[in-house]
Symmetry: C2
């Protein structure tokens, strides 16, 4: 991907609002935006990004905190729009830097982030807000607006400073008949539009999807129909935070005389929180403990689990491998009530094939209407652009293709093209008197979490890992007399991922010995020089003989 | 995936036809089936499978030739149904074992396989057949039937022996208005059905797709419309063997006053063959050399390339990276006129995002009707099952979910469930007097091509590669006195993909020294024992300190 030119932002002028998207531009994930006014910083969201296949072994990717790392004391609050990982997942890593940054969000959002922080042994300062509420956070007057999404209690946030009015949607869609009757508050959008929105930051994930996202409640009858027809056990897999999807499964099960066992740690934890706070209405006697559920007759039970993305360690993949106490068999029905996140296809199809071979009927997005997206499609975004008539637009939450599509929609509704900004993470946008200008571009990177390490794994390590994955390695140890280049110990050759049979190296060992001696004769004396000789000798041999390019790791010791 | 029980087949009885699918069951790729009768073997197709992300570094996967490896002289011919890689790609590897096995297929199919074999410096024995032709191949009477697919000149093959009549479709669909007017010959299917099909092996790739595959010719107007509206250059990417798709691009370009440059070695080679044999009709003056095309005005040119699957080294990905002489810019139009093969999503979206950032408009399957599948969907398969009324069905060419869906369609048309066989590679099916029985299950593996090696890379190597990719490695060299365990040289520690900073190992070196000395005191004397001590010491340290599990490669030498 061509890199954007990096340049230092101009100094922030008084009375000007600075906006820096730290994550979420050019990617779906690690959403985080910093707003600065008169020396104070307000952060909206702080999420993680999940790695792709070219980032092997990485657990999570964090936003690059560089723009705020030296300004931690200036942060007045972190506003969290909703409780999804790509919006709250990096909060623990931010609070490790300063643990008393106040967290502001809805009841459910804060409950979910607190449960997460508990695992990191952090007890945060939290402040619950509701839709319609106005809250002064330092110099920022924030107003919270109800929005509808695939998790309850999501909020958009309007940010007022003397520099202007900003509307930041967070994730949203405009389901007009949501299960909890909490619609995206278009009246509030209209009122803000009347007031004059100077900058609009809309969720652009589905901006390239024509039309409208279907209703969540259209899924209920499909689920109910599949469950009603099932003769034996039913297993439903979805996201562990999708309260409304689980609600529909509980209702459908209840109406079909089945009990539901929640399976998987995150599913049990999140639904416990949702039920306790009243977001999940559990019909009487529907929930049952997994152990008891396994003793129920097959036609009386539904297992509700995670693993809908084919994650190898999650419940569903283990079931497909017969590596779970719930043994899927002939006549069982498995429903994948979720999206298929790009990149997970092979993993998901492996799970579907495994379950099919065990005799299960697998119902998924590809053959039944068991999922709808949580994001506004192009048709919905047009409503927003028209009712808001924003002066400036900075599409967020999307890859380049999504941001570009969202900006094009803005232009179609009359926003001047010059006032739409398709940016990358680190773009610095200053706003004053209704005018927005790009005044800088920071160089932000990826921060990888791997095991207990944060930021220690670099892009260079990942490049090494990709080479290792493609080709394996050959390590060569040799101890030599540095005057003569004579080999005293070795060459000892180890390899992994290259070839099973170590005898293949018998060929190259005498070549190494000869090359070292020749190098010494030609005046090589230093360790590095001898190591290069070994690398070249083995590299040439392996390329000629095997047409391969494994990583070559020589260790030469002078004895 | 649960492994199927392997068992030796019963001896083949006289007058009985044995069918062994060697590849293509449980996967999309490396299609190959062996038919044996009275000591002679007929092979249908010999293709490759492309690796998935859990098979890093592998170039190709071949069928496991084990069932025929010791029977090469009994092979009477290889029938090739059509010229796609998953049906012809492994032919060079089979001919390396015996280069005079006759290849039988249509004109285009054999031309493509000959071009491929030329690269392997093999000149094969070929025999061209046409639809309607009956050909005696050893004890097998074969009859060839025209079928429609995403490459011209595809053939199904009916195989008659005294044991019964088999129909093997190869890949096909039933486009009723194909560009070349060569439809799947349902009259021939009807005639074979009247005669009595004892075993039917249908392409099952799209058996789980409801309805009918749309017409290829529906794409033409869409392409033409996009090209007509384009203000600057147009780049179309598709598969390099998709003659009819290229035909539609040539026609659309010609009607819009544009010339077309073919880009990429395989595209140029295949279209050269197709044009020479008359399968591609090139409008006058439409084709132009790439170098000349680059000098044409932007609105006068179409580049037709490969790389529609996001392959990093292919033309399109390089264009997206500005790493190709054709520089994509503002206002250019890129059309991905192809399917999105599962597993390639992230790579393809990376390319789309890159092109979008360069200012191109990207038209693809997700936002326009620029691709249709080459395989029969469920509705079409029902026509086949009904017109053939086969006694037995062995669905081929599909993953478990596809084979299961195909068998279910057979059952819906009246084939008894007991007569449908959902198998894995190596299933042994004997046919006589209209009765088919499974009589064995061979244990067939994956044969990996990596560089110039075939079969040297094993599943154990791939497991190592996956660990290396996820975690990297730490190699530790140490030379010790084996009596005292005293370290004489080292510990020298090298790592890749683990951490950039080698200073992290300062911590563990004294632990290694101490552990070796303690082991010697406790009686350890052998190299293997000392190596285990090093492995355990480093493993425990890295797990406790870093919560990681890199591969640990100790080398202990006794000095």
């Amino acid at each position: 991907m061509p890199a954007t030119d990096v340049y230092e932002p101009t100094p922030l002028q008084p009375g000007t609002l600075r906006v820096i998207p730290i994550g979420g531009l050019g990617e779906i994930g690690r959403n985080m935006t910093a707003y600065e006014y008169e020396g104070k910083i307000l952060i909206v969201d702080c999420g993680v990004l999940f790695p792709e296949e070219h980032q092997p072994g990485v657990d999570l990717i964090l936003p690059d905190f560089a723009p705020i790392r030296d300004r931690l004391d200036d942060i007045v609050a972190v506003v969290l729009t909703h409780g999804h990982e790509d919006h709250i997942g990096a909060v623990p890593y931010l609070l490790r830097l300063r643990d008393d940054i106040p967290l502001v969000g809805s009841n459910l959002t804060l409950a979910l982030v607190e449960a997460k922080l508990k695992e990191h042994r952090i007890k945060p300062y939290t402040h619950i807000v509701h839709e319609g509420q106005i809250e002064k956070l330092g110099p920022f007057e924030t107003e919270f607006v109800a929005v509808n999404h695939s998790i309850p209690d999501a909020l958009a946030v309007a940010i007022r400073t003397p520099a202007g009015l900003v509307l930041h949607t967070g994730d949203f869609k405009m389901d007009q008949l949501p299960l909890d009757e909490r619609i995206t508050d278009l009246r509030a959008f209209a009122r803000l539009g009347e007031e004059g929105v100077d900058l609009f930051l809309p969720d652009s994930t589905n901006a390239d999807v024509p039309g409208f996202t279907p209703l969540e409640r259209d899924i209920g009858p499909v689920l109910e129909n599949v469950i009603a027809k099932a003769k034996r056990r039913v297993i439903v897999a979805s996201f562990s935070s999708h309260v409304h999807r689980v609600q529909q499964v509980l209702d459908a099960a209840s109406r079909n005389g089945r009990q539901v066992a929640l399976i998987g740690r995150s599913m049990i934890r999140n639904m416990g929180i949702a039920a306790e706070l009243g977001y999940l209405r559990v019909p009487d006697d529907v929930l049952i403990d997994a152990k008891k559920a396994m003793k129920l007759p097959d036609e009386k039970v539904v297992f509700m689990s995670t693993g809908s993305q084919g994650e190898p360690m999650a419940v569903l993949a283990r079931m497909a491998n017969l590596d779970h106490q719930i043994e899927v068999g002939e006549g069982d029905t498995v429903i994948l009530a979720s999206s298929l996140i790009p990149g997970n296809e092979n993993a998901v199809y492996r799970v579907i094939n495994g379950l099919t071979k065990l005799g299960a009927k697998v119902v998924h997005k590809g053959n039944a209407k068991v999922h709808v997206s949580g994001h506004a499609a192009a048709g919905e975004l047009l409503y927003c652009y028209n009712i808001l008539q924003p002066r400036n637009v900075l599409p967020v939450h999307g890859e380049a293709r999504h941001l570009t599509a969202s900006a094009a929609l803005a232009v179609e509704t009359g926003v001047p093209e010059l006032n739409t900004f398709i940016g990358e993470n680190g773009i610095v946008l200053d706003l004053k008197d209704g005018l927005a200008n790009v005044v800088g571009q920071l160089d932000l990177g990826y921060v990888y979490v791997d095991g207990s390490t944060v930021g220690e794994i670099t892009d260079a390590d990942l490049k090494d890992r990709r080479i290792l994955a493609e080709e394996g390695f050959i390590s060569i140890f040799v101890a030599i007399d540095k005057q003569t280049g004579r080999v005293i110990v070795g060459p000892e050759i180890q390899s992994r991922g290259f070839a099973e049979d170590e005898a293949v190296f018998d060929d190259v060992k005498p070549k190494i010995v000869a090359a070292l001696s020749e190098a010494a004769q030609n005046g090589t004396r230093d360790q590095h020089g001898f190591a290069q000789v070994v690398r070249r000798t083995v590299g040439r041999w392996v390329n000629t003989q095997h047409r391969r390019r494994p990583m070559i790791v020589p260790v030469v010791i002078e004895a």
